[in-house]
Amino acid sequence: MALVNPDFVEEVKRSGRFDASACMNCGVCSAVCPMGIELLPRKLFRYVLLGVKDRVLENVETIYSCLLCRLCEVNCPAQVHIAENVRFLRCYMNKKVFKI
């Protein structure tokens, strides 16, 4: 079981660079992803929105395997800025996990 951590949500919110609140969990993004990344972006974004920090940190590889091709983004019916969100998560990882 994962603990929901609102502080993480706030941290993300403050950055002003992550926004997936319009995501309606339709799954189009996962369906069109050439990398076949099942987790990306809908599940991963949900982890962020819910503040399940542990799960986000567990998925470093996934976050880095995204091609940023934006195939998902052009197909997203809710116009979620998927690639930008992924970019933000990479920055976050760089800082928090890899301390770059």
């Binding site: 079981m1 994962a2 603990l3 929901v4 609102p6 949500v9 706030e10 919110k13 609140s21 319009a22 969990n25 599940k43 949900r46 982890y47 929105l49 819910l50 503040g51 399940v52």
Partner: protein, 577 residues
């Protein structure tokens, strides 16, 4: 032999009838029945052309009886009665024989059998028509007043509506004050007004109208009479109890709802910090600045939806229905909470979001402001327990993350409780109103006759007929206004004359029929110095329950007399062809 002149029309109903019934054979079989002078088929008897043809036949052939063998009378009884009327024939000398629902559709695999049955049914219809007499509808003068039970938002609005069209209103409220639940609501969507303000506004309007008499602390204790002229006794409990009687032409019931009261332990109910939506709304209204509960600022809220609604069948007395206002009300409350504190964390555990219509905007706003929604399965509901540090611990499996389990720490858990029917037992007995499976009052048809009940002249509106928000309640109140005004403004109502009649020559007033009548329509009267039974025409429903109880054969149902029924049976058992 009969000296009647009857026209018989057998309908093809496109192919609905003629595909399974040999309509030409039916015509051939019945054209020589006693009284029949015209017998034809028609592709669609209800079409304008066919109606014209019937009217022409009635006039030219001087018909004094009409039989149409077609669909169910539910569909076209009034159509063909009207055809008769337009041709100058008394509409009660018309008989509709159902050879679609009760014959062709019931016997699609047996054309021979269906045809024989149709012949018998039509013969019976002709036999009945042979013995018809012209009847006139029972005309009853209406009293231009309405009794409204319940002075919540629906009752108040209905009172104003009726007063404005010149009908006098008695408004009866059980509580000491008017306004019902709405009076206790805070800021409402979409106008942003407080419930109390809305009610005060309505109450002001009520006070301006002299034709509205408002009774608070009052109850309806007795009702007699019928549509157009009800006699009602109202008990007023202040300061000393007293009864008054009023006469009205119609009754509108607007008694509202009760909020669902969670059981002890249901989603942690009973734990410190677990509250109903109503209690949370009150907390929102009463907190000036930040949201505080038990001296502590509320930082994390968990909402659990569908509490007391959409319950599983395994439960006893489960509320199966969606309360349809709680999703909207909860999301609205969440937005108000964001207004008080934009930093607040709100988690919504739902089964399905049902924020229909413009309430979608509220939902979107909540999402935008950072509320998170987790979907749970009804079979695996969230668990609420006491956690550490005075916090509550909520565990939920989120279907949107493929059923992953999450733990949320919350200061308060808000249960989105739905609406349940108000306990109205006494009133139900007095008005004899039917109650549906879910305990709310039943309308005749939710789309076609949404505020009418099976009791003529008694209407329902607002949340007493099912969960509704305030604007839906007002809309239904206005529908009830329109319906009741339409019968009262005319000054009279016309009721079916197909009711029971007593032959005073034969009646010896044993009273057995009076006891048998489920509508208390039989009274006693004097006839040539003797006591006999009398049927109150306004009350009798023509159910026929009294007829067989009379040992002296003094009762008959107009339109279905003993002689008519016997002749129909004879015709039904006659040899085929």
């Amino acid at each position: 032999m009969s000296d009647r002149r009857i026209g018989v029309y057998i309908c093809h109903c496109g192919g609905n009838i003629s595909d399974y019934v040999d309509v030409d054979r039916v015509v051939k079989a019945v054209c020589d029945e006693p009284g029949v002078v015209v017998a034809r088929t028609a592709v669609f008897t209800c079409s304008d052309a066919a109606q014209q043809e019937i009217i022409q036949d009635i006039k030219e052939q001087n018909l004094d009886g009409l039989v149409v063998a077609s669909c169910s009378p539910k569909l076209h009884l009034y159509t063909f009665r009207d055809v008769a009327r337009r041709a100058g024939l008394n509409p009660y000398q018309y008989t509709q024989v159902n050879i679609r629902e009760q014959c062709s559709w019931a016997h699609t695999g047996d054309r021979e059998g269906a045809t024989e049955k149709a012949i018998r049914l039509v013969r019976a219809g002709i036999a009945r028509t042979n013995l018809t007499e012209p009847l006139q509808p029972v005309k009853i003068d209406t009293v231009p007043g309405v009794l409204i039970i319940g002075a919540g938002i629906a009752g108040l609005r209905a009172a104003i509506g009726l007063a404005d069209i010149g009908i006098c209103v008695y408004l009866v409220e059980r509580a000491p004050v008017v306004g019902g639940w709405v009076a206790r609501f805070g800021k409402m969507y979409p106008h942003g007004k407080k419930g109390r303000e809305l009610i005060d506004q309505l109450l002001d309007e009520v006070k301006k109208r002299e034709s509205i008499t408002l009774f608070t602390n009052a109850e309806v204790v007795e009702k007699s009479g019928s549509m157009g002229d009800f006699h009602v006794r109202i008990r007023i409990k202040e300061p000393a109890e007293s009864d008054i009687g009023v006469r009205v032409g119609a009754i509108i019931v607007a008694t509202g709802f009760d909020p669902y009261q969670p059981r002890e332990g249901e989603y942690g109910y009973g734990l410190e910090g677990v509250m109903t939506l109503a209690a949370f709304q009150e907390l929102l209204d009463n907190s000036g600045g930040r949201l505080v509960y038990n001296g502590r600022e509320i930082k994390d809220v968990v909402y659990i939806y569908c509490v007391g609604s959409r319950q599983g069948t395994d439960m006893e007395n489960a509320n199966r229905y969606c309360s349809r206002y709680c999703c909207n009300a909860t999301v609205h409350a969440a937005n108000l909470a964001f207004e008080k504190n934009p930093e607040i964390h709100q988690f919504h555990l739902f089964r399905d979001m049902r924020t229909y219509g413009r309430f979608e905007l509220l939902y979107r706003e909540a999402l935008k402001r950072g509320a998170t929604f987790l979907k749970f399965d009804a079979s695996e509901p969230p668990r609420v327990e006491q956690g550490g540090n005075g916090k509550l611990k909520v565990t939920v499996k989120d279907l949107l993350t493929s059923g992953e389990e999450f733990e949320i720490r919350a200061d308060v858990v808000v249960l989105a409780t739905g609406m349940v029917p108000k306990k109205n037992g006494k009133l139900v007995d007095i008005l004899k109103l039917p109650v549906g499976r879910d305990g709310f009052f039943n309308e005749i048809h939710p789309k076609l006759r949404p505020v009418e009940t099976v009791v003529d002249g008694v209407f329902i509106c607002g949340a007493c007929q099912g969960p509704k928000n305030s604007s839906e309640s007002v809309a239904s109140a206005l529908a009830a206004v329109a319906q009741s005004a339409s019968i009262l403004k005319k000054g009279y109502v016309e009721l079916e004359p197909l009711i029971a009649a007593v032959d005073p020559q034969l009646c010896t007033w044993c009273g057995v029929c009076a006891q048998a009548c489920p509508y208390s329509a039989i009274e006693q009267e004097q006839y040539r110095g003797r006591e006999v039974a009398r049927v109150n025409e306004a009350v009798c429903k023509g159910c026929g329950g009294c007829v067989p109880t009379c040992s002296r054969d003094a009762l008959n149902l107009r339109g279905y007399t003993g002689a008519q029924i016997k002749s129909m049976i004879d015709a039904l058992v006659k040899e085929i062809c």
